[in-house]
Symmetry: C2
Subunit: 134 residues, 2 copies
DNA sequence: ACGAGGTTAAGTGGAAGTGTTTAAATCCAT
DNA sequence: ATGGATTTAAACACTTCCACTTAACCTCGT
């Protein structure tokens, strides 16, 4: 039973790498070829990418249209807008202010610049008050 | 070559589950037993946990102690504290206010309640201005 | 106690990931 | 262009994961 996505081998190599060692040096250190280090490092990074993708998926499970956040809006005012729209529909948003901002930045980081909304953002919500952005 | 941590089967079940279907209903829908749905859902959630853990690892590759956020602090004041501490060390934090709040809530959600820090949080930083919490 | 929803255990076939080696192939800077 | 670093290809045992079944077992609320 695997309890971790990254193997100990992969973690060790990522650590050594972050410390500035070359693949050759790591190979000598743990007793294998540089080619092997290369492959292990590569699959480690691939695992990290998959991890990121999986969490993104969890954040964007199902929902229906709620409202639009106009370009130029202050990020900190977005939750208030969403709470009002949801209230109009008689649905209680299942996130607080902080949670909403988190969700937004996670889902559509490319639409955000510092505290400003760069591009228009579509907001969706389901009957449970679940929110997501696009 | 697998390009995703969660399989299509797992994603489908997580979606249906999020929509409120029971395991039995999903089983009938996609033609398998409820026990099977249970197991697939379970391993899907296990995968999500591993994804989270893997990203945590990446965030905590080498870094050094920065400061402590005391219990009871307002979440919105945390970035300011961190910026000041980092500045004292001559390092530029690689996150803005919003980014820091996101990172904090993602990393240690169990230490946060609404806008308040429930339990003391340790903050670490490396030479690149990368931040992580514990 | 009954039933609905959920969980667990044990086993199976097939698919994919892991760590390895060896050898050849790119990069990139001095 | 020579040498150091990195990447790729192909192949190999070995392990783990995935979806699935059957059957039994919790745990609620009514």
């Amino acid at each position: 039973m695997k309890d971790s996505l990254l193997t100990e081998r992969q973690k060790a190599i990522l650590r050594h790498r972050r410390q500035g060692l070359t693949q050759q040096q790591i190979g000598d250190l743990i007793g294998t070829s540089k080619a092997n280090i290369c492959i292990i490092e590569k699959s480690a990074l691939e695992n990290v990418r998959r991890a990121h993708e999986a969490l993104q998926f969890m954040y964007t499970l199902d929902a229906g249209f709620l409202c639009v956040i106009p370009s130029g809006a202050d990020l900190l005012t977005v939750p208030e807008t969403i709470f009002r729209e949801a209230s109009d529909r008689g649905v209680k948003v299942r996130y607080n202010t902080i949670g909403l901002i988190n969700r937004l930045c996670d889902s559509v980081p490319e639409h955000v610049k510092a505290r400003l909304v760069k591009d228009e953002i579509q907001v969706y919500m389901n009957d449970d008050g679940e929110i997501y952005f696009e």
